[in-house]
Amino acid sequence: MENKLIMILIVVIGAIAISQLVRVYELTAKLRKHGEHEIPTRDNYLNSKLMLAFMILQFGGFIYLTMKYGWTGRGPAASVQGEATDWLLNLNFVIIIAVFFLTNFLLFFFSFKYVKKPGVKAYYYPHNNKLEMLWTVVPAAVLAVIIILGLRTWNEVTSASPKDAIQVELYSKQFDWTARYAGGDNTLGKTDYKLILGNNELGLITAATIDSSILAMRQGAGGILDIKKLLNNRDTVLTDSLTAVLRKDLGSKERLLRLLTQMKSTHNASLDKHAYDDIIQKDTLYLCVNKPYEFSLRSKDVIHSAYFPHFRAQMNTVPGYGTRVKFTPNKTTAEMRTIKNLPTFNYVLMCNKICGGAHYKMKLMVVVLEEAEYNAWMKGRAAKNFKATYFPAPAAPAATVTPAKDTVKTAMN
């Protein structure tokens, strides 16, 4: 209803404005003689004053917005790397804001001051090599400083993680995130997209997962045998287009099967242990404060981007191509809540590369814990590693969820 009113109001005002303008136009057109196109001195002066007024508005708007929101609106950085880049950001802001004020001031002030005055001729001043040199060299010098400091920080934040960094994989797909911790050996098991099946959602490579994928490809529902049966069935008549689709599907599946069989023949089963102790975590990413993290990023379908606004970290996840990002969180969730004075605050991982309709909802909560809390959580979680979820013991007692989880919960609240 409100919107309707606004809309009607806008249309009405627009219509009135146009009809007024037509009238103004008709009047001014009548007043003018043909072929006379001097801009009246009054118009010149008015516009020159408006130039100055606009400058004040622009500067005032900038100052107002900065006072109200600051230039890092998302609060202080929550990681060691983020603090380094924030420091650099502040320095760069000081430089560019100075340039912004200086050059805009000169531009608008000259526009105001040098408006045409009757009887005053412009100063013929085609060039001055010294001046031009000056404003080539000064920006170059300032940029040199910016480049040197920038690259130093860039090298720091993109360099290899220390050996003992905690390995975590972030896996993206339309439209959610899955984290995988490397488990006790701190080594992530290897993966292949062809093994994604059932409860092996991330496609971990082990002798068993290869076998079940081969089986499913061959005999599973919609597998090769099924398709062949359909194609060869003389009792049902398939339309041409359906046959074409089925043949294409059969072709791809046979090709995938060949690749899977190849994988099986070269598989080294002694590496399976790296995969079996991995821990897959879907709803929340828990991190330990002050520990360096090395994230390996992987994507199932399209490009996504792992964007941690509060840690000032971001990296694309690219299908078929592994990427990495590292950071060391240095404020726990609880600390950040106090700093921001916002008891409901939580860190978050978002998707920041357009990836489809629900792109804007693709997120994962991130919780940074004190070391003791984190270890307690991890201890409880370790029992439900990949091996345990992949081969669910038929009669396993449900009590594998240790009380540690509850401790975490209470720490969180």
């Binding site: 912004f100 031009e132 090298n155 399209v302 964007y307 990296m315 357009i354 804007y360």
Partner: protein
């Protein structure tokens, strides 16, 4: 001069066959002035479409999920049931908005219009080197515009119920939805988003045609500049407008073919089952067999065009404003040679900076460092240009035509948008703000506003040349002040939205509502303000439209040289004629910037006036 003779001949010929002459004069015209106007009108239409799309999605951003009749009216029940925009159509609107603005309004429209009108007129040529190719370039542009526009109406793999056979059609709803950068795999897989079906096919076909047209046009501009300058018009006596169009055309010729090849490879991946950009992908539960391709290959190819494209959009605007600022400040442009040098430097550097769009794609960090270095180098010639403009105003005698207002505003947006580029070019800082609204603010101000202001400045300044009539100045002033206040009101706060952490291409920011209410409140406050300014700015354009179309038919007749300008186009008769000059071509004796030269009687000396006794050229 063979072409001149031909023109005169065909002119006579037309007088005898009246019906034919309407078609060849207004429709299949080979006259550069008419073709320029055709580009302008087409671009104005496309620009309006893109502006309307932006208002539609801005309404969603400011009042997410609220029902709006305005949305329902324009998008219907399919895309805005109950007046609420669908989330995938949000992406479709953003994508087509960006595509139209960058390519159709500011590439085809800006350089197409003014290169066509001004290159022959300011160089003293009878027409473009090839009138036929010139006409072809417009028709390609028109065809691609129509296809892009129609792609908005894709439904179940067809447009208005017209079916397309085989792999071309049958799937997909809505236009391309992968952003104007159409990164695969999202753009390659119809399963991934509804716009990657037939909508994406139309996008690719439209762009391929657009690129072909743009190449033909650019080659024509280059040849004309090199070969058809009148006697005395040396390269260093050319107006800066022509220098800008010339370098723009070279950038286009060198970079657009790369986009064309990127698009062709994408078409192959979509239709022929190749794997240029695809590897190890599973969409939903469908396992693809593609292996070995790289999505990053597309990004490299795209941005190899994409960055020069920024300057393809910007340089013509800077060229136009150089001319307008010198004329209306009644002063020579300061540092003419340095201005040429910086246009050339910017043109060259723009080819080796594309990686700054890819700092966080997993590109080797060392390579990233190289791109940081080259990108920041571009700031130097840009700074030179800005200071030269400012010095041109110093001690001038400024006449405020609407064109002059827009030209000065362009310098302001070039500064305001340019300085934030320094932040984004610094890879370490880009990590935290890449793909946020900070970027949206940056490129709208430095590229969008600057180029649009340049285009408006050009229209107001050369309208008398195009239509033989004057536009109304007072309406021009009203249009200018509403536009600059509105546009700053839209794009300036976006910096703060981005710094608060808001990603771009988001349908709404409810995620911050859940996790960080402080950022959320800030984002939502500003989003409402931005949308209100956007609506004001959009309404302001109605003043321009009215003034433009009204003046075409009813504006007062233009004198021959209304702005007392030095360049050659003002020596042609007001009435358009084939071949531009009724008699011999003008001969050039001086540079175009002899304004307020000491010792001269008037404060301007046109280029075809011989040097006086004892006068030195600047």
């Amino acid at each position: 001069m063979a072409s001149a003779a031909h023109d005169v001949h065909s002119h006579d010929h037309h007088d005898h066959h009246h019906e034919e002459s309407f078609v060849s004069k207004y429709i299949f015209s080979q006259d550069h002035k008419m073709i320029g106007k055709q580009f302008l009108i087409t671009a104005v239409f496309m620009g309006l479409v893109a502006m309307l799309l932006s208002i539609l999605f801005r309404i969603q951003l400011a009042w997410p999920g609220e029902s709006s009749d305005f949305l329902n009216f324009f998008l219907g029940d399919q895309w805005a049931p109950e007046g609420v925009l669908k989330e995938d159509m949000y992406l479709g609107l953003v994508t087509i908005h960006g595509t139209i603005m960058v390519f159709f309004l500011l590439t085809g429209g800006l350089s197409g219009t003014f290169s066509n009108i001004l290159i022959p007129l300011q160089l003293g040529a009878r027409d473009m080197a090839s009138g036929f190719l010139n006409m072809l370039s417009y028709w390609f542009f028109l065809l691609s515009s129509l296809i892009m526009f129609l792609s908005l109406f894709v439904m179940n793999g067809s447009v208005f119920g017209i079916d397309f056979p085989g792999e071309w059609g049958t799937v997909g709803n809505g236009p391309a939805m992968a952003g104007w950068t159409v990164y695969p795999p999202l753009s390659a897989l119809p399963q991934a988003v509804s716009g990657s079906g037939f909508g994406m096919t139309l996008w690719l076909v439209s762009m391929a045609i657009f690129i072909a047209g743009s190449l033909i046009g650019s080659l024509n501009y280059i040849v004309t500049v090199l070969n058809l300058r009148t006697t005395g018009m040396t390269m260093t006596r050319m107006p800066l407008t022509i220098w800008a169009f010339f370098v723009t055309a070279i950038l286009g010729v060198l970079s657009f073919p790369v986009l064309l090849s990127a698009a062709l490879l994408l078409i192959m991946d979509r239709m022929a089952g190749t794997s240029f950009y695809l590897s190890d992908i599973m969409v939903g539960s469908e396992m693809l067999t593609n292996h070995g391709g790289s999505p990053l290959l597309f990004q490299h190819l795209f941005w190899f065009l994409g960055h020069p494209e920024v300057y393809i959009v910007l340089l013509p605007a800077l060229g136009l404003s150089s001319e307008i600022i010198a004329t209306n400040a009644r002063k020579p442009i300061f540092g003419y040679k340095a201005m040429i040098g910086s246009i050339l430097a910017i043109g060259f550097l723009s080819f080796i900076v594309w990686g700054h769009h890819m700092f966080i794609t997993g590109m080797n960090p060392f390579l990233g460092s190289v791109f940081v270095f080259t990108t920041l180098l571009i700031a130097i010639p840009s700074a030179v240009k800005v200071f030269n403009y400012i010095t041109t105003l110093w001690k001038g005698s400024i006449v405020y035509t609407p064109a002059m207002l827009f030209a000065i505003a362009l310098v302001s947006t070039f500064i305001t948008g340019g300085v934030t580029g320094i932040i984004l070019a610094d890879s370490a800082l880009d990590i935290a703000i890449h793909d946020t609204y900070f970027v949206v603010a940056h490129f709208h101000i430095v590229m969008g506003m600057s180029a649009v202001f340049g285009m408006f400045a050009g229209v107001y300044h050369w309208f008398p040349k195009m239509y033989g009539r004057m536009m109304n100045n007072r309406m021009g002033y009203a249009h200018f002040w509403i536009t600059i206040v509105g546009a700053y009101g839209v794009f300036f706060p976006m910096h703060f939205v981005g710094l608060a952490g808001a990603p771009r291409r988001y349908y709404d920011y409810s995620v911050y509502g859940e996790f960080d209410t402080e950022s959320f409140n800030m984002i939502m406050d500003l989003n409402v303000i931005i949308t209100v300014f956007a609506i004001i700015a959009a309404l302001g354009q109605l003043i321009f439209l009215f003034n433009f179309f009204y003046s075409i038919y009813r504006g007062p007749a233009a004198p021959q040289n209304p702005w007392k300008s030095n360049t050659l186009e003002w020596t042609t008769p007001v009435e358009h004629i084939h071949g531009n000059w009724p008699g011999a071509l003008p001969v050039v004796h001086r540079w175009p910037y002899d304004y307020s030269k000491p010792g001269a009687a008037e404060d301007f000396i046109p280029q075809d006036v011989p040097l006086a006794e004892g006068e030195v050229e600047h």
